[in-house]
Subunit: 253 residues, 2 copies
Protein backbone atom coordinates (compact mmCIF):
# COMPACT_ATOMS: atom_id res chain seq x y z
CA UNK A 1 0.00 0.00 0.00
CA UNK A 2 1.22 3.49 -0.82
CA UNK A 3 0.85 5.91 2.09
CA UNK A 4 0.98 9.01 -0.13
CA UNK A 5 -2.44 8.53 -1.72
CA UNK A 6 -3.79 11.16 -4.06
CA UNK A 7 -6.43 13.41 -2.47
CA UNK A 8 -9.26 12.13 -4.71
CA UNK A 9 -12.16 10.22 -3.10
CA UNK A 10 -12.95 6.68 -4.29
CA UNK A 11 -15.43 6.39 -7.17
CA UNK A 12 -19.01 6.49 -5.97
CA UNK A 13 -18.32 7.62 -2.40
CA UNK A 14 -19.29 11.26 -3.04
CA UNK A 15 -22.51 10.18 -4.78
CA UNK A 16 -23.52 7.95 -1.86
CA UNK A 17 -22.70 10.70 0.66
CA UNK A 18 -24.75 13.18 -1.39
CA UNK A 19 -27.71 10.77 -1.45
CA UNK A 20 -27.41 10.30 2.33
CA UNK A 21 -27.55 14.06 2.88
CA UNK A 22 -30.51 14.43 0.54
CA UNK A 23 -32.31 11.65 2.43
CA UNK A 24 -31.34 13.24 5.76
CA UNK A 25 -32.74 16.65 4.80
CA UNK A 26 -35.86 15.03 3.34
CA UNK A 27 -36.54 13.11 6.52
CA UNK A 28 -36.16 16.28 8.59
CA UNK A 29 -38.55 18.10 6.24
CA UNK A 30 -41.00 15.18 6.40
CA UNK A 31 -40.91 15.20 10.22
CA UNK A 32 -41.55 18.96 10.16
CA UNK A 33 -44.39 18.54 7.66
CA UNK A 34 -46.04 15.81 9.75
CA UNK A 35 -45.84 17.81 12.99
CA UNK A 36 -46.76 21.11 11.34
CA UNK A 37 -49.56 19.92 9.08
CA UNK A 38 -51.23 17.26 11.24
CA UNK A 39 -50.06 17.66 14.86
CA UNK A 40 -50.41 21.44 15.40
CA UNK A 41 -46.71 22.34 15.22
CA UNK A 42 -44.08 22.60 17.94
CA UNK A 43 -43.89 24.74 21.10
CA UNK A 44 -42.26 24.32 24.52
CA UNK A 45 -44.68 25.65 27.18
CA UNK A 46 -47.89 24.35 25.64
CA UNK A 47 -49.77 21.12 24.91
CA UNK A 48 -47.58 20.96 21.80
CA UNK A 49 -44.48 20.31 23.92
CA UNK A 50 -44.68 16.59 23.10
CA UNK A 51 -43.99 17.39 19.43
CA UNK A 52 -40.51 18.65 20.34
CA UNK A 53 -39.69 14.99 21.09
CA UNK A 54 -39.95 13.43 17.61
CA UNK A 55 -38.31 16.47 15.99
CA UNK A 56 -35.29 16.38 18.35
CA UNK A 57 -34.90 12.61 18.18
CA UNK A 58 -34.92 12.51 14.37
CA UNK A 59 -32.52 15.47 14.21
CA UNK A 60 -30.17 14.31 16.99
CA UNK A 61 -30.33 10.51 17.18
CA UNK A 62 -30.61 9.93 13.42
CA UNK A 63 -29.45 12.81 11.19
CA UNK A 64 -26.61 14.18 13.33
CA UNK A 65 -25.55 10.76 14.62
CA UNK A 66 -25.43 9.48 11.03
CA UNK A 67 -23.41 12.49 9.86
CA UNK A 68 -21.00 12.13 12.80
CA UNK A 69 -20.39 8.53 11.71
CA UNK A 70 -19.66 9.65 8.15
CA UNK A 71 -16.93 12.21 8.93
CA UNK A 72 -14.04 9.73 8.57
CA UNK A 73 -15.27 8.87 5.07
CA UNK A 74 -16.00 12.46 3.98
CA UNK A 75 -12.90 14.19 5.44
CA UNK A 76 -10.60 11.34 4.49
CA UNK A 77 -7.58 13.50 3.65
CA UNK A 78 -7.73 15.91 6.61
CA UNK A 79 -5.54 15.48 9.68
CA UNK A 80 -6.90 12.66 11.85
CA UNK A 81 -7.02 14.84 15.00
CA UNK A 82 -9.34 17.41 13.35
CA UNK A 83 -11.63 14.69 11.99
CA UNK A 84 -11.73 13.03 15.41
CA UNK A 85 -12.70 16.33 17.09
CA UNK A 86 -15.45 16.91 14.49
CA UNK A 87 -16.70 13.32 15.06
CA UNK A 88 -16.88 13.94 18.84
CA UNK A 89 -18.47 17.41 18.48
CA UNK A 90 -21.21 16.18 16.13
CA UNK A 91 -22.01 13.24 18.42
CA UNK A 92 -22.00 15.63 21.40
CA UNK A 93 -24.41 17.97 19.63
CA UNK A 94 -26.63 14.98 18.77
CA UNK A 95 -26.67 13.99 22.46
CA UNK A 96 -27.62 17.52 23.61
CA UNK A 97 -30.47 17.74 21.08
CA UNK A 98 -31.66 14.24 22.03
CA UNK A 99 -31.61 15.26 25.71
CA UNK A 100 -33.88 18.22 24.92
CA UNK A 101 -36.21 15.78 23.14
CA UNK A 102 -36.24 13.45 26.16
CA UNK A 103 -36.95 16.32 28.60
CA UNK A 104 -39.81 17.39 26.31
CA UNK A 105 -41.56 14.01 26.46
CA UNK A 106 -41.06 13.59 30.24
CA UNK A 107 -42.46 17.10 30.91
CA UNK A 108 -45.34 16.52 28.50
CA UNK A 109 -46.17 13.21 30.24
CA UNK A 110 -46.04 14.93 33.66
CA UNK A 111 -48.42 17.68 32.50
CA UNK A 112 -50.87 15.13 31.07
CA UNK A 113 -50.51 12.57 33.89
CA UNK A 114 -49.17 9.83 31.59
CA UNK A 115 -46.70 7.32 33.13
CA UNK A 116 -43.17 7.18 31.69
CA UNK A 117 -41.08 4.31 30.37
CA UNK A 118 -43.76 1.65 29.99
CA UNK A 119 -43.61 1.08 26.22
CA UNK A 120 -41.17 -0.88 24.06
CA UNK A 121 -40.45 2.41 22.27
CA UNK A 122 -39.39 4.05 25.54
CA UNK A 123 -37.25 1.05 26.54
CA UNK A 124 -35.47 0.97 23.17
CA UNK A 125 -35.15 4.75 22.94
CA UNK A 126 -33.79 5.16 26.47
CA UNK A 127 -31.37 2.25 25.97
CA UNK A 128 -30.18 3.87 22.73
CA UNK A 129 -29.65 7.25 24.43
CA UNK A 130 -27.89 5.94 27.56
CA UNK A 131 -25.62 3.58 25.59
CA UNK A 132 -24.91 6.36 23.05
CA UNK A 133 -23.85 8.66 25.90
CA UNK A 134 -21.66 5.88 27.34
CA UNK A 135 -20.14 5.22 23.92
CA UNK A 136 -19.38 8.94 23.55
CA UNK A 137 -17.72 9.12 26.98
CA UNK A 138 -15.66 5.99 26.25
CA UNK A 139 -14.75 7.34 22.81
CA UNK A 140 -13.53 10.65 24.28
CA UNK A 141 -11.64 8.77 27.03
CA UNK A 142 -9.89 6.39 24.66
CA UNK A 143 -9.31 8.52 21.58
CA UNK A 144 -9.30 12.22 22.54
CA UNK A 145 -7.73 12.31 26.01
CA UNK A 146 -4.02 11.48 26.13
CA UNK A 147 -4.18 8.62 28.69
CA UNK A 148 -4.84 5.54 26.53
CA UNK A 149 -1.90 3.75 24.93
CA UNK A 150 -1.79 3.09 21.22
CA UNK A 151 -2.30 -0.66 21.68
CA UNK A 152 -5.28 -0.09 24.02
CA UNK A 153 -6.81 2.25 21.41
CA UNK A 154 -6.20 -0.39 18.75
CA UNK A 155 -7.94 -3.06 20.80
CA UNK A 156 -10.92 -0.83 21.65
CA UNK A 157 -11.43 0.61 18.14
CA UNK A 158 -13.25 -2.38 16.56
CA UNK A 159 -15.69 -2.46 19.51
CA UNK A 160 -16.23 1.31 19.19
CA UNK A 161 -16.98 0.95 15.47
CA UNK A 162 -19.32 -2.05 15.91
CA UNK A 163 -21.30 -0.50 18.77
CA UNK A 164 -21.41 2.84 16.94
CA UNK A 165 -23.19 1.26 13.98
CA UNK A 166 -25.37 -0.93 16.25
CA UNK A 167 -26.50 2.11 18.27
CA UNK A 168 -27.28 4.00 15.07
CA UNK A 169 -29.48 1.07 13.96
CA UNK A 170 -31.14 0.91 17.39
CA UNK A 171 -31.83 4.66 17.26
CA UNK A 172 -33.59 4.27 13.91
CA UNK A 173 -35.60 1.29 15.24
CA UNK A 174 -36.66 3.40 18.26
CA UNK A 175 -37.84 6.17 15.88
CA UNK A 176 -39.91 3.67 13.86
CA UNK A 177 -41.51 2.46 17.11
CA UNK A 178 -42.22 6.06 18.08
CA UNK A 179 -43.93 6.74 14.73
CA UNK A 180 -46.12 3.64 15.17
CA UNK A 181 -47.03 4.68 18.73
CA UNK A 182 -47.92 8.24 17.68
CA UNK A 183 -50.11 6.97 14.84
CA UNK A 184 -51.93 4.41 16.98
CA UNK A 185 -52.50 6.94 19.77
CA UNK A 186 -53.72 9.70 17.46
CA UNK A 187 -55.37 8.15 14.40
CA UNK A 188 -55.96 4.52 15.41
CA UNK A 189 -59.35 4.23 13.68
CA UNK A 190 -58.58 6.10 10.47
CA UNK A 191 -55.01 4.76 10.01
CA UNK A 192 -56.35 1.60 8.32
CA UNK A 193 -58.10 3.71 5.68
CA UNK A 194 -54.79 5.04 4.33
CA UNK A 195 -55.44 8.63 5.50
CA UNK A 196 -52.76 11.12 4.37
CA UNK A 197 -51.23 11.49 7.86
CA UNK A 198 -50.70 7.73 8.10
CA UNK A 199 -49.14 7.51 4.66
CA UNK A 200 -46.88 10.52 5.39
CA UNK A 201 -45.69 9.07 8.71
CA UNK A 202 -45.10 5.65 7.11
CA UNK A 203 -43.07 7.43 4.43
CA UNK A 204 -41.01 9.07 7.17
CA UNK A 205 -40.32 5.56 8.49
CA UNK A 206 -39.18 4.41 5.04
CA UNK A 207 -36.93 7.50 4.73
CA UNK A 208 -35.36 6.73 8.11
CA UNK A 209 -34.60 3.19 6.92
CA UNK A 210 -33.21 4.45 3.62
CA UNK A 211 -30.94 6.96 5.43
CA UNK A 212 -29.72 4.17 7.73
CA UNK A 213 -29.12 1.86 4.78
CA UNK A 214 -27.06 4.38 2.78
CA UNK A 215 -25.01 5.53 5.81
CA UNK A 216 -24.46 1.87 6.81
CA UNK A 217 -23.31 1.01 3.28
CA UNK A 218 -20.82 3.89 3.17
CA UNK A 219 -19.45 2.99 6.62
CA UNK A 220 -18.99 -0.72 6.01
CA UNK A 221 -17.58 -0.71 2.49
CA UNK A 222 -13.98 -1.84 2.90
CA UNK A 223 -12.45 0.17 0.06
CA UNK A 224 -14.09 3.39 1.30
CA UNK A 225 -12.42 3.28 4.71
CA UNK A 226 -10.16 6.24 5.52
CA UNK A 227 -6.59 5.45 4.45
CA UNK A 228 -3.84 6.48 6.90
CA UNK A 229 -2.02 9.64 5.76
CA UNK A 230 1.73 9.44 5.01
CA UNK A 231 2.62 11.32 8.21
CA UNK A 232 0.40 9.01 10.30
CA UNK A 233 2.21 5.96 8.90
CA UNK A 234 5.57 7.56 9.71
CA UNK A 235 4.38 8.47 13.24
CA UNK A 236 3.07 4.96 13.80
CA UNK A 237 6.45 3.57 12.72
CA UNK A 238 8.25 5.94 15.13
CA UNK A 239 5.90 4.91 17.92
CA UNK A 240 6.48 1.22 17.20
CA UNK A 241 10.23 1.87 17.35
CA UNK A 242 9.91 3.65 20.69
CA UNK A 243 7.59 1.13 22.34
CA UNK A 244 8.76 -2.17 20.89
CA UNK A 245 12.43 -1.42 20.41
CA UNK A 246 12.23 -2.04 16.65
CA UNK A 247 14.11 0.32 14.39
CA UNK A 248 12.54 1.30 11.06
CA UNK A 249 15.49 -0.28 9.25
CA UNK A 250 14.52 -3.69 10.56
CA UNK A 251 16.81 -4.05 13.60
CA UNK A 252 15.29 -5.72 16.65
CA UNK A 253 15.63 -5.01 20.37
Amino acid sequence: MDGALPPASPTGLSAYVAVSQLLGLTLLATTGAWLGRYRGGVAWHSPLQFNVHPLCMVLGMVFLQGDALLVYRVFRHEAKRSTKVLHAVLHGLALVIALVGIVAVFESHRTKGIPDMYSLHSWCGMAAFVLYLLQWLLGCGFFLLPGASSSLRGRYKPQHVFFGIALFALSIAACLLGITEMLLFNIKDSYRHFVPEGVLANTLGVLLLAFGLVVGYVLTRDDWKRPPLAEELALSMDFKTLTEGESPDGGSQ
Copy 2:
Protein backbone atom coordinates in the same frame (compact mmCIF):
# COMPACT_ATOMS: atom_id res chain seq x y z
CA MET B 1 -1.78 -15.75 6.33
CA ASP B 2 -1.43 -19.51 6.63
CA GLY B 3 -4.11 -21.44 4.70
CA ALA B 4 -3.61 -24.68 6.67
CA LEU B 5 -5.10 -23.41 9.94
CA PRO B 6 -5.65 -25.82 12.80
CA PRO B 7 -9.30 -26.94 13.19
CA ALA B 8 -9.82 -25.10 16.50
CA SER B 9 -12.26 -22.16 16.59
CA PRO B 10 -11.00 -18.70 17.63
CA THR B 11 -11.19 -17.91 21.34
CA GLY B 12 -14.60 -16.65 22.34
CA LEU B 13 -16.45 -17.57 19.14
CA SER B 14 -18.07 -20.69 20.60
CA ALA B 15 -19.20 -18.79 23.69
CA TYR B 16 -20.82 -16.04 21.59
CA VAL B 17 -22.53 -18.61 19.35
CA ALA B 18 -23.80 -20.46 22.45
CA VAL B 19 -25.19 -17.20 23.86
CA SER B 20 -26.88 -16.45 20.53
CA GLN B 21 -28.59 -19.86 20.56
CA LEU B 22 -29.67 -19.44 24.17
CA LEU B 23 -31.13 -16.05 23.30
CA GLY B 24 -32.79 -17.50 20.18
CA LEU B 25 -34.47 -20.31 22.11
CA THR B 26 -35.49 -17.89 24.88
CA LEU B 27 -37.10 -15.53 22.40
CA LEU B 28 -39.05 -18.39 20.82
CA ALA B 29 -40.20 -19.53 24.28
CA THR B 30 -41.14 -15.95 25.18
CA THR B 31 -43.19 -15.59 21.98
CA GLY B 32 -44.93 -18.89 22.79
CA ALA B 33 -45.57 -17.79 26.38
CA TRP B 34 -47.04 -14.47 25.26
CA LEU B 35 -49.36 -16.04 22.69
CA GLY B 36 -50.28 -19.01 24.92
CA ARG B 37 -50.75 -17.16 28.21
CA TYR B 38 -52.29 -13.88 27.05
CA ARG B 39 -53.54 -14.28 23.46
CA GLY B 40 -55.40 -17.62 23.62
CA GLY B 41 -52.79 -19.74 21.81
CA VAL B 42 -52.37 -20.58 18.13
CA ALA B 43 -54.72 -22.31 15.65
CA TRP B 44 -55.21 -22.11 11.88
CA HIS B 45 -58.97 -22.24 11.16
CA SER B 46 -60.14 -20.08 14.06
CA PRO B 47 -60.07 -16.51 15.36
CA LEU B 48 -56.61 -17.43 16.70
CA GLN B 49 -55.21 -17.67 13.17
CA PHE B 50 -53.64 -14.22 13.57
CA ASN B 51 -51.35 -15.60 16.29
CA VAL B 52 -49.65 -17.87 13.76
CA HIS B 53 -48.20 -14.65 12.30
CA PRO B 54 -45.92 -13.48 15.16
CA LEU B 55 -44.83 -17.06 15.91
CA CYS B 56 -43.80 -17.75 12.29
CA MET B 57 -42.12 -14.38 11.81
CA VAL B 58 -39.99 -14.67 14.96
CA LEU B 59 -39.09 -18.27 14.09
CA GLY B 60 -38.45 -17.70 10.37
CA MET B 61 -37.37 -14.08 9.89
CA VAL B 62 -35.31 -13.84 13.09
CA PHE B 63 -34.19 -17.16 14.60
CA LEU B 64 -33.67 -19.18 11.41
CA GLN B 65 -32.42 -16.20 9.40
CA GLY B 66 -29.90 -15.45 12.16
CA ASP B 67 -28.74 -19.06 12.34
CA ALA B 68 -28.42 -19.23 8.55
CA LEU B 69 -26.14 -16.19 8.72
CA LEU B 70 -23.98 -17.88 11.37
CA VAL B 71 -23.21 -21.12 9.49
CA TYR B 72 -19.97 -19.83 7.93
CA ARG B 73 -18.68 -18.97 11.41
CA VAL B 74 -19.85 -22.20 13.09
CA PHE B 75 -18.89 -24.71 10.35
CA ARG B 76 -15.63 -22.95 9.57
CA HIS B 77 -13.61 -26.09 8.84
CA GLU B 78 -16.19 -27.95 6.71
CA ALA B 79 -16.07 -27.97 2.92
CA LYS B 80 -17.34 -24.65 1.57
CA ARG B 81 -19.90 -26.30 -0.72
CA SER B 82 -21.65 -28.09 2.19
CA THR B 83 -21.72 -24.91 4.30
CA LYS B 84 -23.11 -22.97 1.35
CA VAL B 85 -25.90 -25.52 0.85
CA LEU B 86 -26.76 -25.41 4.57
CA HIS B 87 -26.80 -21.57 4.42
CA ALA B 88 -29.23 -21.69 1.46
CA VAL B 89 -31.42 -24.43 3.00
CA LEU B 90 -31.81 -22.60 6.32
CA HIS B 91 -32.67 -19.33 4.55
CA GLY B 92 -35.12 -21.25 2.32
CA LEU B 93 -36.77 -22.79 5.39
CA ALA B 94 -36.96 -19.35 7.01
CA LEU B 95 -38.69 -18.01 3.86
CA VAL B 96 -41.26 -20.85 3.82
CA ILE B 97 -42.10 -20.35 7.51
CA ALA B 98 -42.34 -16.58 7.01
CA LEU B 99 -44.68 -17.16 4.04
CA VAL B 100 -46.99 -19.23 6.27
CA GLY B 101 -46.95 -16.35 8.76
CA ILE B 102 -47.83 -13.85 6.05
CA VAL B 103 -50.69 -16.01 4.72
CA ALA B 104 -51.98 -16.27 8.31
CA VAL B 105 -52.22 -12.51 8.79
CA PHE B 106 -53.78 -11.88 5.35
CA GLU B 107 -56.43 -14.61 5.93
CA SER B 108 -57.08 -13.35 9.45
CA HIS B 109 -57.55 -9.79 8.12
CA ARG B 110 -59.92 -11.07 5.41
CA THR B 111 -62.03 -12.95 7.98
CA LYS B 112 -62.25 -9.89 10.24
CA GLY B 113 -62.67 -7.34 7.41
CA ILE B 114 -59.44 -5.48 8.30
CA PRO B 115 -57.56 -3.82 5.39
CA ASP B 116 -54.03 -5.03 4.61
CA MET B 117 -50.73 -3.21 4.26
CA TYR B 118 -51.65 0.15 5.77
CA SER B 119 -49.26 0.23 8.73
CA LEU B 120 -45.55 1.00 8.97
CA HIS B 121 -45.12 -2.52 10.40
CA SER B 122 -46.68 -4.06 7.29
CA TRP B 123 -44.58 -1.88 4.97
CA CYS B 124 -41.33 -2.77 6.76
CA GLY B 125 -42.25 -6.43 7.17
CA MET B 126 -43.30 -6.90 3.54
CA ALA B 127 -40.19 -5.06 2.32
CA ALA B 128 -38.06 -7.33 4.51
CA PHE B 129 -39.75 -10.48 3.16
CA VAL B 130 -39.69 -9.52 -0.52
CA LEU B 131 -36.07 -8.31 -0.40
CA TYR B 132 -35.08 -11.41 1.59
CA LEU B 133 -36.63 -13.63 -1.09
CA LEU B 134 -34.82 -11.63 -3.79
CA GLN B 135 -31.54 -11.88 -1.87
CA TRP B 136 -32.03 -15.66 -1.58
CA LEU B 137 -32.72 -16.03 -5.32
CA LEU B 138 -29.68 -13.88 -6.19
CA GLY B 139 -27.55 -15.83 -3.71
CA CYS B 140 -28.57 -19.17 -5.26
CA GLY B 141 -28.00 -17.78 -8.77
CA PHE B 142 -24.55 -16.39 -8.03
CA PHE B 143 -23.13 -18.91 -5.57
CA LEU B 144 -24.91 -22.27 -5.97
CA LEU B 145 -25.68 -22.49 -9.69
CA PRO B 146 -22.64 -22.97 -11.94
CA GLY B 147 -23.20 -19.98 -14.27
CA ALA B 148 -21.45 -17.10 -12.46
CA SER B 149 -17.72 -16.62 -12.96
CA SER B 150 -15.37 -16.46 -10.00
CA SER B 151 -14.74 -12.73 -10.51
CA LEU B 152 -18.48 -11.99 -10.74
CA ARG B 153 -19.01 -13.91 -7.48
CA GLY B 154 -16.16 -11.96 -5.91
CA ARG B 155 -17.72 -8.64 -6.92
CA TYR B 156 -21.22 -9.60 -5.73
CA LYS B 157 -20.16 -11.17 -2.42
CA PRO B 158 -19.63 -7.94 -0.40
CA GLN B 159 -23.09 -6.71 -1.51
CA HIS B 160 -24.62 -10.08 -0.54
CA VAL B 161 -23.01 -9.88 2.91
CA PHE B 162 -24.01 -6.23 3.51
CA PHE B 163 -27.62 -6.69 2.40
CA GLY B 164 -27.83 -9.98 4.34
CA ILE B 165 -27.02 -8.20 7.60
CA ALA B 166 -29.18 -5.17 6.71
CA LEU B 167 -32.20 -7.42 5.98
CA PHE B 168 -31.68 -9.26 9.25
CA ALA B 169 -31.73 -5.88 11.07
CA LEU B 170 -34.84 -4.81 9.13
CA SER B 171 -36.57 -8.09 10.03
CA ILE B 172 -35.92 -7.48 13.73
CA ALA B 173 -37.17 -3.88 13.42
CA ALA B 174 -40.36 -5.16 11.73
CA CYS B 175 -40.89 -7.60 14.65
CA LEU B 176 -40.50 -4.77 17.18
CA LEU B 177 -43.10 -2.75 15.26
CA GLY B 178 -45.41 -5.77 15.23
CA ILE B 179 -45.07 -6.18 19.02
CA THR B 180 -45.95 -2.49 19.53
CA GLU B 181 -48.95 -2.77 17.19
CA MET B 182 -50.27 -5.89 18.94
CA LEU B 183 -49.94 -4.28 22.36
CA LEU B 184 -51.63 -1.03 21.34
CA PHE B 185 -54.46 -2.90 19.61
CA ASN B 186 -55.05 -5.30 22.49
CA ILE B 187 -54.09 -3.61 25.77
CA LYS B 188 -53.86 0.07 24.87
CA ASP B 189 -55.38 1.33 28.14
CA SER B 190 -53.66 -1.03 30.57
CA TYR B 191 -50.23 -1.05 28.83
CA ARG B 192 -49.25 2.17 30.64
CA HIS B 193 -49.83 0.51 34.01
CA PHE B 194 -47.03 -2.00 33.45
CA VAL B 195 -49.40 -4.98 33.20
CA PRO B 196 -47.57 -8.37 32.94
CA GLU B 197 -48.49 -8.85 29.24
CA GLY B 198 -46.92 -5.50 28.34
CA VAL B 199 -43.75 -6.20 30.31
CA LEU B 200 -43.47 -9.70 28.79
CA ALA B 201 -43.91 -8.39 25.23
CA ASN B 202 -41.41 -5.57 25.86
CA THR B 203 -38.98 -8.21 27.15
CA LEU B 204 -39.48 -10.15 23.92
CA GLY B 205 -38.49 -6.97 22.07
CA VAL B 206 -35.32 -6.65 24.16
CA LEU B 207 -34.50 -10.34 23.51
CA LEU B 208 -34.92 -9.79 19.76
CA LEU B 209 -32.47 -6.87 19.94
CA ALA B 210 -30.01 -8.89 22.04
CA PHE B 211 -30.15 -11.80 19.55
CA GLY B 212 -29.54 -9.37 16.68
CA LEU B 213 -26.66 -7.72 18.53
CA VAL B 214 -24.85 -11.00 19.33
CA VAL B 215 -25.37 -12.44 15.82
CA GLY B 216 -24.25 -9.11 14.30
CA TYR B 217 -21.13 -9.07 16.48
CA VAL B 218 -20.16 -12.64 15.51
CA LEU B 219 -20.72 -11.88 11.81
CA THR B 220 -18.76 -8.64 11.65
CA ARG B 221 -15.73 -9.50 13.80
CA ASP B 222 -12.84 -9.64 11.36
CA ASP B 223 -10.79 -12.35 13.08
CA TRP B 224 -13.82 -14.66 13.28
CA LYS B 225 -14.40 -14.75 9.52
CA ARG B 226 -14.17 -18.21 7.93
CA PRO B 227 -10.58 -18.81 6.75
CA PRO B 228 -10.20 -20.43 3.31
CA LEU B 229 -9.24 -24.12 3.57
CA ALA B 230 -5.92 -25.27 2.08
CA GLU B 231 -7.66 -27.01 -0.85
CA GLU B 232 -9.73 -23.89 -1.60
CA LEU B 233 -6.56 -21.80 -1.81
CA ALA B 234 -5.01 -24.35 -4.17
CA LEU B 235 -8.19 -24.43 -6.29
CA SER B 236 -8.32 -20.65 -6.44
CA MET B 237 -4.68 -20.61 -7.61
CA ASP B 238 -5.47 -23.20 -10.31
CA PHE B 239 -8.48 -21.15 -11.43
CA LYS B 240 -6.38 -17.99 -11.59
CA THR B 241 -3.87 -19.84 -13.71
CA LEU B 242 -6.56 -21.08 -16.08
CA THR B 243 -8.41 -17.79 -16.45
CA GLU B 244 -5.62 -15.23 -16.30
CA GLY B 245 -2.83 -17.20 -17.89
CA GLU B 246 -0.61 -16.89 -14.82
CA SER B 247 1.31 -19.94 -13.71
CA PRO B 248 1.68 -20.64 -9.99
CA ASP B 249 5.47 -20.41 -10.33
CA GLY B 250 5.23 -16.73 -11.22
CA GLY B 251 5.36 -16.84 -15.05
CA SER B 252 3.01 -14.40 -16.84
CA GLN B 253 0.95 -14.80 -20.02
